[in-house]
Amino acid sequence: MQEIICLEKVSYSYFDKIPAICDVSLGIKEGERFAIIGSNGSGKSTLLQIMSGLIHPCSGKTFFKGHEVSESSLRVSAFLKFFRERVGYIFQDSDVQLFCPTVLDELMYGPLQLGLSEKDALDRTFEVMQMLNIENLKSRPSYMLSGGEKKRVAIGSVLTMNPEVLIFDEPTSGLDPRTQVFLLELIVALNGAGKTIVIATHDLSLVGELETRVAVLSEEHRIEKIGGPDTILADEELLLKVNLIHEHVHFHGQSAHSHLHSHFLFHRHQ
């Protein structure tokens, strides 16, 4: 399979002082499920924003389908349209993503931008609303939605543009269990429909559930390892090093136990 997104020795720092990403190289294949995992502040969101051309690396290059994505190339209107209609980004904070007066306007915004007729845009909107089960919210403003509803609308607002790549930043954070399950099923279904899925998370269960290929970011903002979910999740030493699992001490009666602990996967007594 061809690589749809490719990063070559990408580095980024905030205010030219705080490093966020150091020398990251990776390739994501078309139609695959790919996860970037790392602890808080390791640079996951920055990496996703670089992939989606929202910010640009201080050094290194980003490619989408072999075309370089840079500040300059995104100023060419034909490439901007080509790129944005193929790459959709779902922010961690849905609040910042929803800027139209109502849910209906929000979902119609993307297709109208792409030049679809109002009828076609409306058709897409209703189909997506039906899939996400948010038809009853169509006339509501975004500030009158719950966290889970906002997430569904945010995803819907990107899906109506029918992107080939869907980039999710911490998709399940702050959602109730039912919405989390709904989202996982949705991601799997969208991948089944041919979409490339990229997620950033520190939720190891998500990696296990989605069976994604995984890139592990260290606290030094570098790629530690890229591999399949089984290989990565079995590497307790690596996960401990990058602060995704921790050593836990607790008491059983009078005796103390210590073991590696994750709230999702590892809870094995030694």
Partner: protein
């Protein structure tokens, strides 16, 4: 779920390439504005970083620095000759060098602001129409003088020696005051400056409001940047200025709502931690010998500048 996937989502774009065109997109004013907003965060970060270093001025207690700032602003305003202002400027420069601040950046900002708010604003007052005196640079020569109500326009219009001196004095005072403020701001964490204002008997409630407002500026700047990125991720063409204005208006309303909600949440958090009408901020530690010594040295230098 799979069966629910709409038909259009199963379709792929027809082509993997795009038509190379010449159409280029100009950077919209909103983006430029947001770059400046990002500068707010950067400035805050740089200020925090330089203030945290362990250099000469950074080591001195914030109370001494606040009093130093006030004392020297008064001295700068009282001096009436240019040489004293230059001498004070050299003194500030030495302190800046000792504090290892980014001299180029600090003076660039100082000169820019002093040029606008000192030189340019005061420049018309150097004309003999406003300040009488010996003309050193003639600009216009009229056929005869004109009188209108209380105004008199002389035959020759130009810059006077007295007027230019006045402009130079004002510019140097603005420049010195700015350099001094930047020196203190870049060597003292904002929270310390706030607490130091207690020595000037500024009420605690007022300090609390300023501190919260200062923090909110950063939250506001970050949220605005994020909203812009979210919009950018769904933009596929050039945005017209009117569209950008509409978007900004909508987002301002959103920010207002969000601010109100955050304000309520912060207040609840304060209540949850025992807030009552009496705001109590932590008091300062005792001044160390080095603070007393620096304070005395600054005071003596100040007296010297007043005397000469």
């Amino acid at each position: 779920m799979k069966n629910n996937i709409p038909e259009f989502l199963l379709k792929r774009p027809s082509s993997d390439s795009f038509e190379q065109g010449r159409g280029r997109i100009r950077m919209p004013f909103i983006e430029k504005g947001l770059y400046h907003l990002a500068d707010v965060i950067k400035t805050g970060y740089v200020q925090w970083e330089t203030a945290a270093r362990d250099n000469f001025f950074q080591r001195i207690d914030a109370r001494i620095k606040v009093l130093f700032l006030l004392f020297y602003v008064i001295i700068v305003s009282l001096k009436r000759d240019l040489w004293s202002e230059i001498l004070i400027a050299v003194f500030f420069f030495v302190l800046t060098v000792l504090s290892r601040l980014d001299i180029l950046n600090l003076y660039k900002r100082g000169f820019f602001l002093a040029f606008i708010f000192g030189f340019l604003i005061a420049l018309p007052s150097a004309l003999n129409v406003i300040t009488r005196g010996d003309i050193i640079l003639q600009i216009v020569h009229l056929s005869r003088p004109y009188s209108f109500w209380i105004y008199q326009i002389p035959k020759e219009i130009g810059f006077t020696r007295e007027g230019v001196h006045g402009v130079m004095m004002l510019t140097s005072r603005v420049m010195n005051s700015l350099t001094l403020s930047f020196l203190v701001l870049n060597t003292t964490p904002f929270s310390e400056i706030m607490r130091a204002l207690k020595v000037l008997k500024v009420p605690d409630s007022f300090l609390m409001i300023i501190t919260l407002s200062y923090k909110y500026i950063f939250i506001f700047a970050k949220t605005a940047q994020d909203m812009h990125l979210a919009k950018k991720s769904r933009l596929v063409r050039q945005v017209s200025n009117s569209e950008a204005r509409n978007w900004i208006a909508g987002r301002m309303a959103f920010m207002l709502k969000k601010t109100r909600i955050r304000c309520e949440e912060v207040f609840k958090a304060m209540l949850g931690r025992g807030f009552s009408d009496n705001i109590k901020l932590p008091t300062f530690k005792k001044l160390r010998a080095v603070d007393w010594f620096s304070g005395a040295a600054f005071f003596l230098f100040g007296v010297l500048f007043l005397w000469i």
